[in-house]
């Protein structure tokens, strides 16, 4: 399946993903939907734990940011924005302190999908059961992307991880808010094309800095992409071509910028100090 296949589908995008993956196998469909609903619950649990904890991660670099934001006054008068950011960071801080999370598609990018999707759902008062099919679509988008590139920072840079999660989240939010299959795919494409080039330079090689705040940023990025797509703004470059472009850029990235902890933020005096401290 390609993004173009989803784009021209006349029904709900998630229905096509389900049909493509499982056909008419009723038992498999039922298992998938039940498991996915369970994963919504797991996502919620990780958000709840993350928002209430200030326990530091193993390296001590993160652990209190989600609660700090959540407890702060809403200075911008933008409760959706604050909620999405707080949820996303809550999940990734739980991840950093070895809590239980749902990889989506990876652990390092686990906050983006729940931050955007559950953040929007809670803002609008939408039930968890209505999040299941959007998550199926998110998974389908992830599957399509992973056919063109390996979704890991070590092979494609952060663009492959957070770009994928943002594209998945963008499509999911778009479907949640009633977007057509075409709009969902364009939301994914917008999220991807505006992430191309993002390097993976985690301090010390750990999934903490900049990963925690990056999930807050790209959860919002996904909501922005959904907003554009729902309004009818489309990606000029066909969505499948955007995926290929990202994969090509991933191959051009030097190893220092692919999760080795040797370039970018990792190669700052503070970054090098943390790496030394943890290696001891």
């Amino acid at each position: 399946m390609t993004l173009a296949d989803i784009m021209v589908y006349q029904g709900k995008a998630s229905d096509l993903v389900l049909q493509d993956d499982l056909g008419d196998d009723a038992a498999a469909r039922s298992h998938l939907l039940t498991t996915m609903l369970g994963r919504v619950g797991e996502m919620r649990d990780s958000i709840r734990r993350g928002l209430s904890s200030t326990a530091p991660s193993r390296t001590g670099m993160v652990g209190w940011n989600a609660k700090t934001l959540n407890d702060a006054p809403d200075a911008l008068g933008a409760p959706l924005l604050k909620r999405v950011q707080a949820y996303a960071m809550a999940v990734n801080e739980e991840n950093a302190r070895m809590g239980r999370i749902v990889a989506a598609p990876t652990a390092g990018s686990a906050g983006t999908v729940p931050g955007a999707l559950i953040g929007v759902a809670d803002h609008l008062g939408i039930d968890d059961s209505d999040l299941v099919m959007p998550l199926v679509l998110a998974a389908g988008i992830g599957q399509v992307i992973s056919k063109s590139m390996f979704i890991a920072g070590s092979t494609g840079g952060c663009q492959a991880e957070i770009g994928s999660s943002a594209a998945m989240a963008a499509a999911a939010v778009t479907e949640l808010l009633g977007g057509t299959a075409r709009a969902c795919v364009h939301a994914a494409a917008q999220a991807l094309m505006n992430t191309i080039g993002l390097v993976c330079d985690p301090v010390g090689g750990y999934v903490e800095v900049p990963c925690v705040s990056r999930n807050a940023f790209y959860a919002v990025h996904a909501v922005s992409a959904a907003q554009l797509a729902l309004a009818g703004v489309e990606s000029f470059i066909p969505p499948d071509e955007v995926v290929y472009a990202m994969a090509a850029v991933g191959r051009m990235l030097p190893p220092e910028l692919r999760e080795t902890g040797e370039g970018g933020l990792a190669d700052t005096p503070t970054g090098r100090r943390i790496a030394l401290k943890m290696a001891r």
Partner: protein
């Protein structure tokens, strides 16, 4: 790749490769041993050697050795659980050569005169793993399927025989790989199957005179449900001696 691999797995953080993948590799090694491990030695290579502590790779390896799955919250306190379970462990680092940067050599023993095994595995990213050597023999195990490992005498017809038993049990072979030390010597067959082989088939294969050691490893990729922590069912007890 399943849709549930994209939104999932449910796992203890922080890293799908360095935590969940490490846990799965150790789980596979535990099942290769086929008995309750009493001692574990982990030789960390590459990125595993450099960043094990901050990623909890060390905890995840011990947790997998204890039989915990990647979503088990006991991973965080795996060292305490190991002490309680009487599992001793040690970590060391080494350059294991031209292999994937996230690799670990796991040497497990059941203690006393019990069996011991060495398992070389790599965490490929996004939680996917590959076991590439068992007791020095090249194998191919991804953990995505149930796997059969058979150490056998290199002679005509062994692979056909095993394949026909799998077929008789309605098993569908996903991958198969075999490598021998030398012609007529020992060879290791690794076969990944869509569903576990029935006990009687495992028992039958174990009874064949030219099969010296047999193990069935469970799939470790799927499954959010923390599996029970008891010793792996001795799927094919060591038949004629151990695998070395």
């Amino acid at each position: 790749m399943s849709l549930l691999d994209q939104i999932g797995p449910v796992m203890v953080g922080p890293s799908s490769s360095h935590t969940a993948g490490a846990c799965r590799l150790a789980l596979l090694a535990r099942n290769v041993l086929g008995a309750e491990p009493r001692h574990a030695r982990f030789v960390l290579h590459g990125s595993f050697a450099k960043t094990a502590k901050g990623h909890g790779t060390d905890l995840a390896l011990v947790a997998g050795t204890l039989g915990y799955y990647p979503d088990d919250e006991r991973i965080r306190d795996a060292f305490e659980h190991a002490a309680a379970a009487g599992l001793a462990y040690e970590f060391t680092t080494a350059d294991l050569g031209d292999i994937h940067p996230n690799s670990v050599l796991m040497e497990l023993s059941a203690g006393g005169d019990g069996a011991n095994v060495s398992v070389l595995g790599s965490s490929l990213g996004a939680g996917f793993v590959r076991v590439s050597q068992v007791n020095g023999f090249d194998v191919q195990v991804s953990g995505a399927y149930h796997a059969l490992l058979a150490l056998h005498t290199d002679r005509p017809g062994v692979i056909a025989r095993v394949a026909s038993v799998v077929a008789d049990d309605q098993g569908n072979i996903a991958t198969a790989f075999s490598a021998r030390q030398r012609r007529g010597g020992h060879a290791m067959l690794s076969m990944e199957i869509d569903r576990p082989l029935a006990d009687y088939a495992v028992t039958y294969l174990s009874s064949l005179p030219y099969i010296h050691w047999l193990r069935q490893l469970p799939a470790v990729m799927a499954g959010d449900t923390a599996a029970p922590a008891e010793a792996p069912a001795a799927a094919g007890a060591p038949v004629n001696g151990d695998a070395r």
